[in-house]
Each structure stands twice: as C-alpha cells, then as structure tokens.
C-alpha cells in the first residue's frame, strides 16, 4: 500500500505488433498513446516483435535510460512468454517479478474482429496491468531440488527408449508396465514399414538391454495406483500384481508350462489376438522381458480350487512357484515422470456392416500381423479359418478413423501398415490384394516410395470407403465368398468385389482408462482422451504439470519413428531438469502476517499440501513456503485477512478489477 502512494514508481509500457497478429486487429499506436498518459508510465512504445532480441534489448535499454522499476508488456499469453520477459528484466538489472504481461493476442486480437471494440478491450486490460504492476513487489526466486530418479510409465517402444536413454545417461529409472512383459504393440509386429526390417530384430535387443541395465528397475505386471507431490519430489505408489512366481528365481525354462495338467491351452491368447490358446501358466511370448512365466488365476486349477496335482511345482527345480503370493504396494520417490501409456486399437465390432465377429474370415489388422509373424499362431502362414490360403484379400482402410460416428481423427499409421500387410500377404500367398482407401496418407521419409513400390507389385488401390462386407452372392463367382461393395470413386461406378479374406485396418484410440490415468497424474487431456501437450509446437512432450512428460501414442496416433523421437525428447527434457539439479518455482506462495492472525485455524484444513501449521506457543498460523504451491485458497478463506499471496495479493487483484472496468 505504502509503495503505491510514493511517486517513485517508474513504469515502462511495451505493446507488441506480433507482425499483423495483433496490429492487424488492435490499433496498437492508439493503445500506446493511451498508456503513455496513465499514472506512473514514463515510456510507452510499440514494436513489431517484443519477444525478439531487439525487442528485449529495447526494454533493457529503457531500464537503464529511464530508471524503470516496473515493466508491462502487452503481447501474447504469459503462459508462452512470461519467462522470456522476466529474463529480459533480470538482464536489465531489474527484479523479474516487477513484470506484468497483458494477453492481447490469445484473449483479444485472435478472438475478435478488427476495430474499436477490440482496441477498447486492449486499453482496459492495459489499464489494469499498469495499475496492478505498481503494487507488485520485488520477490526472491524460489527453487526446489530435483530427485534424480525417474519414473517411466508404459513399456512399449516409447517407454523402452526413454528408459534406456536416461539409464545410459546414469539416471535411475523405474519402468512400470501393466502387462507381464514389455514390448507393447510393436512386439506383435512382424515387419515395420517402410523399410520392412523385422520388428523383433530391432525391438528385442532393446528389450533385453532394459532387462540387463543396472540403472533400470523393471516392474512388469504392475500399475501405478497413487501419485503425490510435485516436480522434483513425486511420491508414487505402485501395485505389483501377483504372478505366483518369484521373478528372481524363475529362468523361464518353461518346464512348468510343459508339465501343466492342462495338456492343451484353453484360454484365448491375447498376445496372439485370440488366434491361439494358452495354458494357465504361460509366458506371453518367447522373447518376453523379463523372461518369466506367470499364472492366470482365472484358469489355474490350483488358484481356483486349491485342488491340483501341482505337476508344475514338481518340475520347477528353481522352486520359484508361490501360489500364496499376494499383490503388494510399493512406494517410490522420483523427481520426474514420463508417461508412455500408448493406445488401444479400434474394435471392428463397432461397425457391423463389416461383419467382424460374424464372418469368420474378416480379420483385424493386428490378427494378420500375428499371422504373418513366423513365431505367431500360424508360423507365418496366411490362413483362412478352414486352413486354406486366400486367393483374394481386401484390406479396408480407415476403420474407425475419419468417421464422425466413431473417431474423427486420422490414425496416421493405417495407410502405411495396410500397405505393409498388403506386401506381406502378396509375398506369402500371391493372392490378389485390394486396398480400399479414402486418401493415401504417406507423409514420411521413404513412405511415398513404398506406396510406389506396392503399386509396382501389382497391389490394387481402389479409392472408395467400403459400404459393406457381405456373404450374399449376386452372381455365380461370388458364391461362398465375401463380397465387398464399394464405389470405385476414380472409375466412377459401384463395384462388387468377391474376396476370401477381409482385413480391417482398425484405427488407434486412447486407452480406455486414459481419463483416470491423467487424473492420477494431474495432467490435461483432449476431449477424445489423448494427453494434452503444453504447447502443440514449442512444448510437444511437456504437460501443464512441471516434471511430467508424455511420449508416444498416449499423446496422439503416431508411427514408430515419431514415437521414438518423442521418447528421446521426453528423456532429454527430464534429463535437463535433473542435470540442473534444481527447478525455479513461481514465487507466488502465501505467507501469514503474524500480528493480524487470530489463530482461528480456518486455513489449516484447507491446504491440500498440509503447508499450514499452527505455532502453539504464539497461537498463530505459519505457512511452510517449501510446501506451499501457491493456489491461494487459504488467502481467500482467511477471516482476518492476514494471509497474503505473492503476485496475487488482494490489493493487486482489487486494483486490477477496478481498472479493468473503469
């Protein structure tokens, strides 16, 4: 209050054109002139790009020449450039928190038509900022130490790559995977587009590298159940589900699996997309990491009834089997978190016109991936349900993509993997292969070339979205086969094409539980369920929560190269924080003015971080600024008005309110 009254407040005001982004809508000159007349303002300038070096230099020069002690910048959102200008102030020898930004781009120029109303709004916002900045006090920077350990959630290629990058850099990484093995979707693929190198050959070395790396604590068959704390110091609770095996003892010799009283598997094998059956004790797939078996409590007689010969136990010379194993909760402390929780594929049953689940020879693309895989259920042979080879195969693109009735987005990988499958099917069976597409999207290195190669191989590309897959025959040659009805939009007529096998290029979707996950980690999520990045271009792997990063398909559909690139970026972001050792925090914490505190204890239960306690001797509340996150809930609640928040004090806000209206 005092500070306001004395006249030594010297404000510099700067309004940014942002090219034409702002100047095209708001009369910046008029606003600058207006600001010049406001109390405390000693310089008022407009400039093309305030965030540019010359723009910042301008401020720093004025600080010297005009002895500025407050600065207001009217440009874009503070969430984007507040940091930039705070640094500029600091560089000019001014306390960085004597800055106030006015968001006249996102909140004005970009949302209003050019003209007086937009300019009038800018004046009001500027007025408020200038009135408020006079009240802002220089503040100390606030820092917190960064715990060097990192949590990576999800063991797909993204999680694997991020973990290895950090571990190789000497960090300790906890890699937590929900399934019994790492590898994710990629482990199921046979080849990868467009190079056609074998997925296993490039993935499994990385998987075992994870298994062997001393710096990586690999917890598979485990889930995160609780996350507390904040950047630098997260406390995470992990649930480790029982696999009824001592991991360290099991060597994956598979004797128990052979010895199981079930001679044949009876449970659908989800790793093979339901194309084969597995036993109650099993290893997801030969190169599983860790190479450890697990028991399925739904299927195992011993676990269900407790009445089994337990032939498995007899043969296990490592004595690794424990039917009494219980799930356990483990607590870990980490400084940063990388979410790589991946995606799920669209369920073809949601489009009944394609007959998935009705016609036995309609397959999902993932099923065909398993089929063409030499270690898959059919040893790499493309087979119809009756065991024979298809003579004609139709691959339907965009199943559950680009469709307002299912998923609006383009899943980005389907065109390419469909072409890959087309190539492999042709190679394995020499069948006639038809691709039914709306648009071919091959925007990657070597992708268009791959498309060209497929065309040369004689794969048919028919531009049209398939209307139905049916088993009724209009003509002799259609009898006993599946008929695809589609408009050949380039030829300009409707066609009926009989095939033996239909492959649905199912799109990518957010994981079913993505909403719960993002709640647990306190990050944002698009309405569809993709995790939201801090900035679509400039902060693609950051989230709005410091210290939590995202990588891979949990952020949106993408192919393996992009996923790996993002994983590397996320690792680098985490590494940068760790390497700095400390992170600067907003100094917007709250404090109690002891003289005014009545000791009523209203505030204490309100604080979600238990930062407020009561000095029983002085009978006053005290706030531990190290714990305070600066939400200001206590400030608003304090009956005696004795709690203040830095950068958001009542008088600062009141002055803003008055000026913004006046």
């Amino acid at each position: 209050m005092k500070e306001q009254s004395n006249g030594d407040i010297r404000i510099g005001f700067y309004i940014c054109h942002c090219g034409t982004n702002i100047a095209g809508v708001i009369n910046v000159k008029a606003v600058a002139d207006y600001a010049a007349k406001l109390p405390g303002v000693v310089v008022s300038r407009d400039y093309k790009y305030m965030c540019s070096d010359p723009g910042q230099a301008l401020i720093q020069q004025d600080i010297k020449d005009h002895k500025l002690n407050r600065v207001v910048v009217a440009s874009c959102s503070p969430l984007l450039h507040e940091h930039t200008f705070r640094n500029a102030l600091e560089g000019g020898g001014l306390n960085p928190f004597c800055l106030q930004m006015v968001n006249i781009r996102e909140h004005d120029a970009w949302v209003h038509e050019p003209g007086e109303p937009a300019t009038e709004k800018a004046r009001a916002l500027v007025r408020a900022a200038i009135k408020r900045v006079a009240l802002q006090k220089p503040l100390e920077k606030k820092e917190t130490k960064i715990n060097r350990d990192v949590l990576v959630v999800g063991g797909g290629i993204a999680g694997i790559h991020a973990s290895l990058t950090l571990a190789n850099g000497g960090m300790t990484v906890y890699l937590v995977e929900r399934e019994a093995t790492i590898g994710g979707h990629m482990a199921k693929f046979d080849k990868t587009f467009p190079t056609l190198d074998c997925a296993a050959c490039i993935l499994t070395p990385k998987m075992s590298a994870v298994g062997e790396n001393k710096n990586i604590k690999l917890w598979t068959y485990s889930e995160i159940v609780k996350v507390e704390g904040f950047v630098g110091n997260y406390k995470v609770t992990v649930k480790r589900k029982p696999r009824y095996i001592i991991e360290d003892l099991c060597v994956g010799c598979m004797k128990c699996v052979e010895a199981c009283v079930y001679k044949e598997g009876r449970t659908e094998d989800d790793f093979n997309e339901g194309l084969s059956k597995r036993k109650p004790v099993y290893m997801p797939f030969p190169q599983a990491t860790p190479p450890v078996v697990l028991f399925d409590p739904e299927a195992c007689i011993q676990l269900k009834t407790g009445k089994c010969k337990k032939t498995c136990v007899e043969v296990c010379d490592r004595k690794a089997i424990r039917f009494d194993q219980k799930e356990e909760l483990v607590e870990i402390n980490v400084g940063t978190i990388i979410l790589a929780t991946g995606f799920q594929t669209f369920d073809g049953k949601r489009l009944p016109q394609y007959g998935y689940g009705v016609h036995p020879n309609v397959f999902s693309a993932m099923q065909v991936e398993r089929m063409v895989n030499a270690s898959g259920p059919t040893e790499g042979h493309i087979k119809l349900k009756d065991g024979s080879q298809p003579k004609a195969v139709g691959i339907i693109h965009c199943v559950g993509s680009r469709d307002n009735r299912t998923n609006r987005w383009c899943s980005r990988v389907c065109c390419m993997y469909s072409m890959k499958l087309a190539h492999l099917i042709k190679q394995h069976t020499d069948a006639e292969v038809f691709n039914f597409y709306i648009d071919i999207r091959a925007p990657g290195k070597g992708y268009e070339e791959f498309y060209e190669r497929l065309q040369e191989e004689g794969v048919h590309f028919i531009r049209g979205r398939v209307a139905e897959v049916t088993d009724w025959a209009a003509r002799k040659e259609e009898e006993g086969r599946l008929v695809i009805r589609v408009e050949d939009t380039l030829a300009g007529f409707v066609r009926r094409i009989p095939v033996d096998m239909v492959v649905l290029a199912n799109g990518l979707e957010p994981q079913a539980d993505s909403q719960d996950v993002r709640r647990m980690f306190n990050i944002s999520c698009s309405t569809e369920g993709w995790f939201l990045e801090r900035h679509p271009k400039l902060a693609p792997v950051n989230t709005f929560t410091d210290g939590i990063f995202i990588a891979g398909c949990c952020q949106g559909p993408k192919d393996i190269p992009d996923t790996v690139a993002q994983a590397g970026a996320a690792a680098a972001e985490a590494y940068a924080l760790i390497n700095a050792g400390v992170i600067e925090l907003e100094p917007n914490t709250s404090y109690v003015v002891a003289d005014d505190c009545s000791g009523c204890k209203t505030c204490i239960p309100l604080c979600p971080y238990t930062a407020i306690s009561r000095d029983e001797v002085k009978k006053k509340a005290i706030i531990n600024e190290a714990l305070c996150k600066g939400c200001g809930v206590c400030v608003a609640a304090c009956p005696s008005g004795s709690i203040y928040q830095n950068l958001f004090s009542d008088e600062e806000i009141f002055s803003e309110i008055e000026a913004v209206i006046g």
């Binding site: 016109q353 469709d403 709306i438 531009r463 139905e468 408009e487 050949d488 409707v494």
Partner: protein, 189 residues
C-alpha cells in the same frame, strides 16, 4: 462414330447454388463431404443412376446446377436412408436429394414423361383433394401421364389385386378434406 468434347468452363458454374441448397433443412453439412463414396456404395439404386450420389454431392458443391437438377439420380432415390446413416461425415444425403427434387420442380427442369416426378405431383394433388391416397387410382393416373403402354402390361397385377380384394373400388378419403386447407396456405416450399 462421332466424338464429343467434354470440358467445363467456369461460366457454367452457379456460385450460389451450393449455398442455396445448404440453406435447406438437413443439408447444412454438404461442404463436409470427403468424396469417400460410402453413399454410392450403400445406395441400392446407385447402379441405375446417371451420376452416383457422391458425384452429385461434388457437382452440387461445385455449383453445376444444370447437371444436378436434370440428373435422374435425384428421382431414383428411394429414400431408404442407407447413405444417411452410414455417411462418415454425417451428411444427410437423403435430405439433400429431397431439396434437389424440390428445386428441380420449382425450376421445372425435371425429365418430362418421367414417371417418378409425375407420381410425386399426382400424390401431392390427391392428398390436397382427399387428404388420403388411393393407391391403385394413383398408379393409374401416373401411368396415363407417363407411359400408358406400361399400364397395359400391368393388367394382370390389377386382376390379382381385385381377386385378393386389395383393389379399392371407392376412393379412400377424409370426411372433410377441406380441414387440411390451412396446411396448404402460403405456397409450397
């Protein structure tokens, strides 16, 4: 054989046509069409059309009014709504077809002696006069104006209907069709 040139000049385009159509109820999303052809492929009669429904969307959007309104396609649409429920962009193609039919009638460009618009018109008249439809009478009127020869061929059908008592001798009607008058005021749209 004679060859003929096909090329469209921009002058043949009616720029307002697409806007006009989209202003009609249910036709708003026309511009959202991605030309995927789902409509043509689900359509049971597209195989008889001169332009497939997809092509008609493209022509309408581009403003080729003459081609669109004189197309048989709009009259062949049997209103089975297969396209409308399957369009990935939720375009109500059936409604667009209706809008185009109405436009064609307004402009008087629909194919002459072509039974379907005649049926529509006769249906319209009969409802106006009696409030209800008498099917066999409607059919007769339609044939008389389109292709009376075709009717000769349907004598057997007529007989069958009489034999099975499905042929209405006395016309079906409301007691007081004039009650509908208020609905017909203010011209047709």
């Amino acid at each position: 054989m004679t060859i003929q040139q096909t090329i469209k000049y921009d002058a043949e385009r009616d720029r307002n046509f697409p806007k006009e159509i989209m202003a009609r109820h249910g036709c708003e999303k026309l511009y959202g069409c991605i030309q995927c052809g789902t409509c043509s492929a689900t359509c049971p009669v597209s195989t008889y059309m001169d332009h497939t429904p997809r092509q008609l969307m493209a022509l309408t959007r581009a403003g080729f009014k003459k081609e669109v309104l004189s197309s048989l396609t709009i009259w062949l649409c049997a209103s089975c709504y297969a396209c409308t429920v399957d369009c990935p962009k939720e375009i109500k193609i059936t409604d667009i077809m209706y809008a185009l039919k109405r436009r064609a009638i307004e402009e008087g460009v629909y194919p002459k002696r072509f039974p379907i618009p005649i049926l529509a018109r006769e249906f319209f008249k009969m409802v106006k006069n009696r409030g209800r439809i008498t099917e066999n009478e409607l059919a007769v009127r339609m044939f008389l104006q389109s292709n009376w020869f075709a009717m000769m061929k349907t004598w057997r059908l007529g007989l069958n209907l009489m034999r099975t008592g499905r042929f209405s001798i006395k016309p079906e009607s409301m007691e007081k069709p004039e009650k509908l008058a208020s609905l017909f005021q203010g011209g047709s749209r």
